[in-house]
């Protein structure tokens, strides 16, 4: 009967946790945040050249290099987030421009109580919301918007057997993805487009949450503040969004397998 102890516990050296290994299971119950399945997600921006204090000071003093850095670092992200708030690209681009004006207006008074990124996205979301209200296309947050069920299973029912003794089981068990899946996915232009299309097809609220949380790496607390939703609601929206993106990725990977390489 294999799997009661992982290699780490057989030779008692600490390392990766294995969820079939009983000591590992107990360890992850005591320290859930460092559990066996928590992803280590390196941020693409973790090697930023300037910290928030430098950035804020630099902008207040009118430093060009800092501004250039801020533009390179954030303008793509701002457009991506704006697109999650307003329906058209043209409006999103205008919202981003307004956000930069808001940065110029507000940087003198910015005290650094939140991170620069959070502050920036808050300006953006405020501009986008007023914009959306003016164009009467903005859907109010939090409440169940049209076409979005707030309760009930977030995963497509079609993935699971619904009747009989096997109810609640996978119809088609998920495949074991290769460990280099994220790298391969990011290298393929087609796959990146598949993911982007899946995100674009999400309901507005889900798109906002997944964009801020997974694409931009904001904390869930900041997201709840900006979007004015509860943590629970945020996680529900995030889970739905993630499962849909996973499904499109799964689809893509399955197709790719059938293609001659």
């Amino acid at each position: 009967m294999g799997g009661l102890l992982c290699t780490n516990h057989l030779d008692s050296s600490p390392g990766e946790r294995d969820n079939r290994c009983i000591p590992c299971i107990w360890l992850s119950l005591i320290q859930p945040r460092a559990g066996p399945f928590l992803p280590s997600m390196p941020s693409p921006f973790s090697t930023s050249d300037f910290d928030d204090v430098t950035v804020i000071k630099g902008l207040q003093q009118g430093n060009e290099h800092i501004f250039e850095y801020v533009v390179n670092r954030y303008s793509g992200s701002l457009l991506r987030v704006a697109l999650a708030f307003v329906p058209s690209r043209a409006v999103a681009e205008e919202v981003v421009q307004e956000t930069w004006l808001g940065v110029f207006e507000g940087i003198g008074r910015f005290e650094g109580r939140s991170s620069f990124q959070t502050w920036l996205f808050r300006i953006l979301s405020n501009r986008a919301k007023t914009r959306g209200v003016r164009e009467s296309r903005y859907e109010p947050m939090g409440l169940g918007t049209a076409g979005e069920r707030e309760d009930g299973p977030s995963l497509d029912d079609s993935l699971f057997v619904t009747e009989g003794s096997r109810a609640g089981h996978w119809k088609v068990p998920p495949a074991d993805w290769e460990p280099d899946t994220p790298e391969r996915a990011l290298l393929s232009k087609e796959c990146r487009e598949t993911i982007e299309a899946a995100i674009a097809a999400l309901p507005l609220t889900q798109r906002q949450v997944i964009t801020l949380r997974d694409l931009e790496g904001m904390s869930s607390e900041d997201i709840c503040n900006i979007l004015d939703i509860s943590e629970t609601n945020q996680r529900v929206l995030l889970h739905r969004a993630r499962t849909k993106v996973r499904q499109s990725l799964n689809h893509y990977l399955a197709q790719e397998k059938h293609l001659p390489s």
Partner: protein, 104 residues
């Protein structure tokens, strides 16, 4: 504790989550938002179910893919426009930056 009670307690702790229920808890699990009992049940199910282990892995890979998905690059003319606005703003508030001086 009599035997019957202990058995009921064990059954309650281990629970009997279906794959569908486990799949619905993945984001809560990754956020550390499950209660101790839920976490035990979650792990117990995972320990026995390859399909759900794979699903969790797929979700992790999806997240780390998203985490590294770069935004579209900003076109140069937009950057140039922003740069002009920045220098204008500096000049307006009485700060003359080097670049603004050079242009004059």
């Amino acid at each position: 504790m009599n035997h019957h009670f202990r058995q009921r307690l064990m059954a309650y702790m281990i629970g009997n989550l279906s794959c569908q229920e486990v799949a619905a808890l993945v984001t809560d699990y990754l956020d550390g938002a499950l209660s101790l009992t839920q976490r035990i049940r979650f792990h117990m199910h995972l320990g026995l179910c390859v399909a759900c282990r794979n699903f969790l892995k797929q979700m992790r890979y999806t997240i780390s893919t998203l985490r590294r998905l770069p935004p579209d690059p900003t076109p140069p003319h937009v950057k140039a426009q922003l740069h002009r606005r920045f220098t204008d703003w500096n000049v307006n508030r009485g700060l003359s930056s080097d670049c603004a001086e050079e242009k004059k």
